[in-house]
Symmetry: C2
Subunit: 569 residues, 2 copies
């Protein structure tokens, strides 16, 4: 490949509307161009990188025994009605009417389509297990598409779906896919972690996200210094608290005329924030109790995690209480709420840490007052529910004895044990060994192929541009020719070197555009080529090539043998 025959267009200016480094650098390197909000054209340069990622993903999926196929991007409403997701998926589902007013959507994921394919193809346990995958364009109508291809509306995803007769076999394939994903992200040269994710009703480690670590990541990940434990915020748990100490203080009402937050109250009373308790008023609605008022309690320095709170029995789909509801049940207003002296009977859900506190401070349900020295069982009944309902924080003790650390990550993969949700909803059964119709259990496994490109840049760049991990680089080596048009000998030598490199299986490109060295080198650094070799008149005379690694500080003059040894190592 010669760059004079390729299309490369780089810019020095940082685009004004690009916030993330990866978005800026992809635009500056000319990898992508915006067509409309959340819609990007991948230039020839960008596509080379995208294809390199696809290739690694495909090779490892194939190696893991998954079988590639491809499903339509446009899918009929009827299918999505069968699963109930036509309504449930929400506004991210791009809905479409065709010329006959029949309704379709642009596939954001393909559980329905693959289950429809499977029910046409599979009718016996002998055909199981099977794992189908595709690398296909997807669409999610993000309300605020941004960050370039990091959160584009149209994107490339690898999605795989496995079918099994038994739960045990699903778990086996889940681990198989987990191992394949680990190989994929390792091969791609990314710093990543597999973190436990919330998996709804299935529980256990039935769902894990693969997160590329980067400060700009949208997700928080908690991990432990004591083991390889890692989880997202919805799932991460600290160690259980130490047993509750004995009560030491008497309960006493304190005036807090303008102090509404735990921080303000703690400062006024001169006590640690950890001695205060925050009360969050919500309305729950379940079959057993109907609509009812719930006070959720977390320590003053903690924050409620909505997903965790929603998993407390009866609290699925809860909402925050209105001020009127708060007044009705507690007789007070926000800033002074607490579990004592409610106007009506209320349900109290305490975080595990709150349940283990003594001599703590809560709101008095009276404007301008809090109550200090509060103790469970003495000043108020034991909580109705005790659960982990808070976000972990940096420094929490982990269950494995280590300490919790929190880092930022970009989700690039997800493995999930779906169970029989789709096969049952879509009436897909196979005959088991006994000739009995049974719904197969399913797993699904996604990788954000186009997002990986951006995530890799977030993790691998410097002041001069992108620093690709070798397997993702558009080319491994750039052979730069100084003055190609006026110096036939140099040009010939460069062409020979290119041919030799390619003959050795090295993906090399010749920069024969005839730019001045400074501009040429800046381009090659900006687009992140791992190895640069300069062919010049001076080098030719000395029998050397100037070599510089993208990550290296200095250029070196190397003889032919040395150069090849370096590039092939």
């Amino acid at each position: 490949m010669r760059l004079s025959q390729f299309h490369l267009r780089t810019t020095k200016e940082t685009p004004a509307d690009a916030e993330l480094v990866s978005h800026q650098l992809m635009l500056r390197a000319g990898m992508i161009r915006k067509l409309a909000a959340g819609l990007y054209t991948w230039s020839p340069l960008g596509l080379r990188v995208l294809r390199k990622v696809e290739t690694v993903v495909r090779e490892e999926m194939d190696r893991a025994g998954a079988i590639e196929m491809i499903m339509p991007t446009i899918q009929p409403r009827e299918l999505w009605e069968e699963s109930g997701r036509w309504e449930k998926f929400g506004d991210q589902l791009l809905k479409i009417k065709d010329r006959k007013e029949a309704e379709y959507c642009y596939s954001p994921t393909a559980e329905e389509a693959v289950t429809d394919f499977a029910r046409q193809e599979l009718n016996s346990y002998k055909q199981l297990p099977v794992n189908f995958y595709q690398i296909q364009t997807k669409f999610r109508d993000e309300i605020r598409p941004r960050f370039g291809v990091m959160r584009a509306r149209e994107f490339v995803m690898k999605d795989a779906y496995s079918f099994h007769l038994t739960d045990e076999d699903l778990v086996r394939e889940y681990h198989n896919m987990h191992a394949a994903y680990t190989r994929i992200f390792t091969r791609l040269g990314l710093d990543f972690r597999a973190v436990q994710a919330d998996s709804g009703a299935i529980g256990g480690d039935a769902s894990q996200e693969f997160q590329v670590l980067a400060d700009s990541g949208e997700d928080s990940i908690a991990f432990s210094t004591g083991s390889d434990y890692a989880a997202n915020m919805e799932k991460a748990q600290a160690a259980a608290p130490a047993p509750r100490p004995a009560a030491g203080e008497a309960m006493n009402k304190v005036a807090t005329p303008t102090q509404r937050t735990c921080e303000e109250v703690a400062a006024l009373l001169g006590i640690p924030l950890q001695r205060t308790v925050k009360s969050v008023a919500v309305m729950a609605d379940d079959a057993a109790s109907g609509q009812h008022f719930v006070l959720a309690l977390v320590r003053g320095d903690h924050a409620v995690n909505e997903v965790k709170l929603g998993k407390v029995p009866g609290l699925a789909g809860y909402r925050l209480a209105t001020e009127a509801e708060i007044r009705e049940h507690l007789g007070s207003e926000p800033g002074f709420l607490g579990p004592i002296d409610a106007k009506k009977a209320i349900r109290v859900v305490a975080d595990r840490d709150v349940a283990a506190m003594a001599d703590f401070v809560v709101g008095a349900n009276e404007v301008g007052f809090h109550i200090a020295g509060v103790n469970w069982g003495r000043d108020l009944p034991e909580p109705h529910d005790i659960a982990d309902i808070r976000n972990v924080v940096e420094g929490d003790k982990a269950a494995d004895g280590g300490e919790i650390r929190i880092v930022r990550g970009i989700e690039v993969g997800h493995v999930f044990q779906l169970g029989r949700k789709y096969s049952e909803a879509m009436q897909f059964t196979v005959l088991d060994e006994n000739g009995k119709a049974t719904a197969p259990t399913m797993g699904c496994y996604g990788i954000g192929v186009s997002r990986i490109v951006a995530a890799a840049i977030e993790q691998n760049h410097d002041a001069n541009g992108i620093v690709w991990p070798a397997p993702m680089a558009p080319w491994a080596v750039a052979v730069c020719v100084i003055n190609p048009k006026n110096d036939a000998a140099v040009n010939d030598a460069a062409q020979r070197l290119l041919a030799e490199l390619r003959g050795n299986g090295i993906d090399a490109v010749l920069d024969d555009r005839g730019l001045r060295p400074g501009a040429m080198f800046a381009d090659i650094e900006l687009i992140g080529i791992p190895h640069r070799v300069v062919v010049s008149e001076r080098g030719l005379a000395a029998g050397t090539f100037e070599y510089r690694a993208r990550r290296g500080a200095e250029a070196e003059n190397l003889g032919r043998e040395e150069l090849f040894a370096r590039l092939l190592s």
Copy 2:
């Protein structure tokens, strides 16, 4: 690859609703499954074939110097408004509203998107010429999707777009693409023809279609036995007629009480059909004459070609005249129309062959009568316009001295000189050598990648199934094992053979599913594998393998050397 680890599902029954052989066989072989009307999932087997086609297309496009990139499938209305195609494209354009009610379409082709990309990327003549291509999913909302992937709504297309400073350079690239297409279809092993197509205002051979010849094809193609001349029906021309003979008969009115068609009149009068003239009444509307009545004349054995007639000056957008309009201008009714004794002044457009006739028969503009022995210049004025307005027919003399033949074809490719239509409409200019802003001229080049798969089957099948041209086959060789589970020696020998074949670069698959030989062989034939090798206990004892070519009549027992010689030849 082992078939026991793959997913194959064949059926014996011919699906009731599949009309075309390719559709039937793709379903029977399990290459595709229907998701909804015109929407198909490509199974693992189908995808292997699709990818083989893609690979050949990609290799030849790269070799021809085109550069791959990829554009979004969802494109904003504003862009399509710029070109005027948002309205003009018609109902095949799938229009979409997003959650914010902004309008988009699913790309049926990408002239607008690539021109938008180009105007962001290109600003100097130094960056030209350039040819961008993509292999991407397209959508056309066909009113009657059918024939499987032959006329699907969602399909895979390779579309390329080139940009040039001059018309000469466009013509050069057009020929370059023509040559690349010829290599692609030749490499794919298809029997095809490049035929001239109508190219609207641009003219010349500015547009050619690549047609795979097949009796089931929807298009008619005319070619000459005298040269490589070939054209579609809108474009094909016969040789000009011989000069008009002298008049020999007197004009005479003949009673044709119930004879309305030329065939009936010729039979009644006992003359050849070639002596009669058919009159077609149409209404034209142009700036010069306003709405006016036109009588188009073709020989009794010929048919008007609508596209050709529409190209006669002033007849663009013509329509058939109503019975009322016919009565107003001719004073008669259909079946008895003619250019003589009209009630009002009319314009007569004669096909070249009609203009060269003498002593011919036309309708008398009076119910129950025709006029025979009619001659131009004597009985009526010379025609206002003389043009080629008819379909060529089998046996026509061609301009090159040969004879016209007509065959059926399936359009799989199209090369087209677009000119400056999009660059001008979308205000895309580059600076030329003199620093002057100039709109580049464009070419576009399409290949129906998924349609090729079906077209190849139409051309290559027999009673037992598909007979793939080697480059499109899912695998080149099937190694069939008799009784794999019970015979370790046979199984080992087959595995060794598979490894050896793959080591020699032969894309072989092992059929280790354990089917009975009959069922196994039927599958391998149905899915069209070019070479079958059977490993059996008996063969092993004799030191031979049973070999059969998919196109061959007989199986042969070959030694190892002979077998490899055959497969590598």
